[in-house]
């Protein structure tokens, strides 16, 4: 289970963040509350992804795991990095639109 979490953690946070944004925009259409909640959801999502990135990068060290463990760490770290960029990107409309 731990390896699956590392592998899919970043992407799961990204997807969960997206569905929250959609929910806020649909529940409070045309109100500033939707923007505020969107930005409020963005901060923990970014923090969680950043933590995952830090954790997976550490697991890539040779002393921490074998070949397969490092491979999972690599993919997980990239997933977390992509999630950080994607979360920032998809939250931008809350500031700009």
């Amino acid at each position: 289970m731990g390896k699956w979490t590392l592998l899919l953690g970043g992407l799961t946070i990204w997807a969960a963040h997206f569905f929250l944004l959609y929910a806020f925009a649909s529940l409070f259409p045309g109100r500033d509350l939707a923007r505020i909640l969107s930005l409020a959801a963005t901060l923990p999502a970014l923090a969680a992804s950043a933590w995952l990135l830090w954790f997976t990068v550490r697991r890539r060290q040779p002393q921490n795991s074998d070949d397969f463990g490092r491979w999972v760490g690599n993919v997980g770290a990239l997933g977390a990095a992509v999630a950080i960029i994607a979360i920032l990107w998809q939250a931008l409309p809350a500031l700009m639109v």
Binding site: L11, A34, V75, L78, P93
Partner: protein, 844 residues
Amino acid sequence: MTSETGFDPKLYERFPAPPRPDSEIADLKRIWTAPGGWARITAVNNNYIGLWYVGAAFLFFLLAGILALVIRVQLSAPLLGVLPQETYNQFFTMHGTLMMFLFAVPMMEAIGVLLLPQMLAARDLPFPRLSAYAFWAYFIGGLCFFMSIFAGLAPDGGWFMYPPLTSRTFSPGINADFWLLGIGFIEISAIAGAIEILVGVLKTRAPGMTLARMPMFAWAMLVFAGMIIIAFPAVILGTLLLELERALNWPFFDATRGGDPLLWQHLFWFFGHPEVYIIFLPAAGIVSMLVAQLSRIDLVGYHLVVLALLATAFISFGVWAHHMFTTGMPTLSISFFSAASMAVSVPAGIQVFAWIATLAAGKPRYNAPTLFLVGGLVIFVMGGLTGVMLAMVPFDWQVHDTHFIVAHLHYVLIGGAVFPVFAAFYYWIPSLSRRALSDRLGRIAFWLMFAGMHVAFLPMHLIGLMGMPRRVYTYLPGTGLGTVNLISTVGAFILATGIAVVLFDLARNFRHSVDEGADNPYGGGTLEWLSTGLYSTRSIPLVKSRNPLWDDPDLSRDVDQGRYFLPYSATGHRETLITSPLRAEPQYLQFMAGPSIWPLLSALFTAGFFLLLTVQAYTPAVISGVLAIPSMLRWLWDTDRPGDIGPVDVGAGVMVPTHVTGPSTHGWWAMVILLVVIFMMFLMAVFSFFFLLGIHPGFWSQPQDRWWAAIVVALYVAAAGLALFGRHLLTRATSTHWSPTTQVVFAAICAIAAYAIDWTNWRGQGIDGELSAQGAMSNAFLSLQGMLVAIVGLMAVFLALRTSRGLLTRPRSNTFDLIVMFLLYTAAQGSAVSLILRFGPGAG
């Protein structure tokens, strides 16, 4: 090396073991033989089912292609009368529906069923009878569905069937019912196939084939199957609701009674956009694998491509509303969807760059599969670019529902899926046929198809920008649309000529053989190029790299000499080695079911049930549905054998058990996946409930006597408790033979009682299904729950029958465990339904 399951990796050092006697091969052949003559249709070996599956999908591709040619003839000049308007509507609806539902998704599943066992060196996928059922259900259902066009009864509402056009008022005939029941049923077959593939890829890989060493096609199929599990329940629910609205007048999509047509669009596109990636990802897996194999090097950026597949799967569920930019959604919402739609092109871009880099770094040759790969890549990138254009909301407003969209989707799907499938044909057919296909004919076919594709669809962008809407059967002279449309039609025929050349090549050279393939003409390095029979490979190799045949030139010979795992039948039955999901460590030996008529009959009767409902032959439909139940139970009777054989030697003294229970079993995984499917349907129903409530709260009223929910929930809790108690009793040697099963039977009675009370109480509320969306949604919830409770009842009967025949193993039994899991889920969902109906936000 770390272990995932407690398996000692040092045991791997025993391989390759000394060669085994050739006499053992005769045993394998005898055990895995398929029936001959007409009885061949009862075969369940992936070699046959997979091939028939591919053949059927290709047949539907050709049929849909013929419809497309007639459509293009109709549009080749203004005011032509080749197709009357109604028939034209049926043709384009059938073309889209066949291509999406009967060609694209099944073709990918079919290639998976055909090739995955060989690629993973499994004897077969874990549920061969489920594969057979999925194939027959799809083939029988698909053919009957297609026949509707000859009776003028084919659906005519477009492949996404938007209400209110498809509601009873505007589509009073049974055409729409054919789509809703036919496609809904075929999606069930797709889910069956996805469960098979998901469990197969996770649990039947050759030892040592960790996730990091898996062929890219297997990775793609894993992601593909996972996406089907999440996405397809939405469309199954949607089709169910629309059919209920049409049959029983429950107004889910009727805005005058609290429903909303936009609900359909949400449900459909929550499935529909991931569907595009469901089609694209396996094809991308084929491309990733083939560019590396044909360039004779490792794929550049393997882990990046894996990440790209996973990222596509996740974010593709966040783009459904980009099909709805013109529906007046809140600006902020569509901006989020626009951002996600742009972001989803990034993973596709990563894959494209990895493919280009692999082609550039390797030494690809000028042959048919390489041409199809590179050609497909070019076409797909062009389609991707127009996709990014369409993610811009103002541009989308401009070209929405014009031929620009038609051009875009054909570029994406033909480049992203059709060309890779043809590459796969040319690359892999030598492993299935005594003769390879002709490379010369393949190259001719490619150039015709490549040129035809551009001539047909490039002008369509222009046609769209000139303002011609899609789905109109003709246009007026003097609009300037005649010449471009004629060019497009000529292109369609050039494309069709290319496909005809492939057909000719297949007829001339394809000679199916399960054990005499035409060697390995492209020098592939993955396991499907080991010599195989109906039992797959002689022994199951230990995998140490992504291209084992390149890295160990002796591997093929050693496998043939039986120097790896399972070089014989360890139990005298059909069996395969089950390995762990991450590191593929041997866990246990699974018995596999052999040939049987029952999956075929189950498919026939389930197809009969749905299709006879379509033509409103209710009595034969019910008879057919009732007959399907014993057929399925009889098919399942042979599974979960009592564990009367102890641990066995699977080669070089490595011992594994033959009877395992709990979370490591293939059955447990399949049940969990099935419950995810059911939960997704429930989740979509909850979304529908809140969506309608949010839009039309005035149609919601407060239920009376809400305390009845307490009785319902208490009974469901009792059902769950009894089921768990039964499972506890099973492990105790002191309990009598019958007592655990009796608890499950009582649990089922409690669940049925809970449901009956819930239903009766709700019927007395006066919130009628025909009056408002609240009544309709409540009835939908209760109908879904009723199906689960009925299945629980059947399961209890099945368990009692098995117990009476002494087939219940102790202290643990897989059948028992899985039934208890299903019961617990049913109780949880039933309680949730009862509470949502009476205490949900709309209940006051």
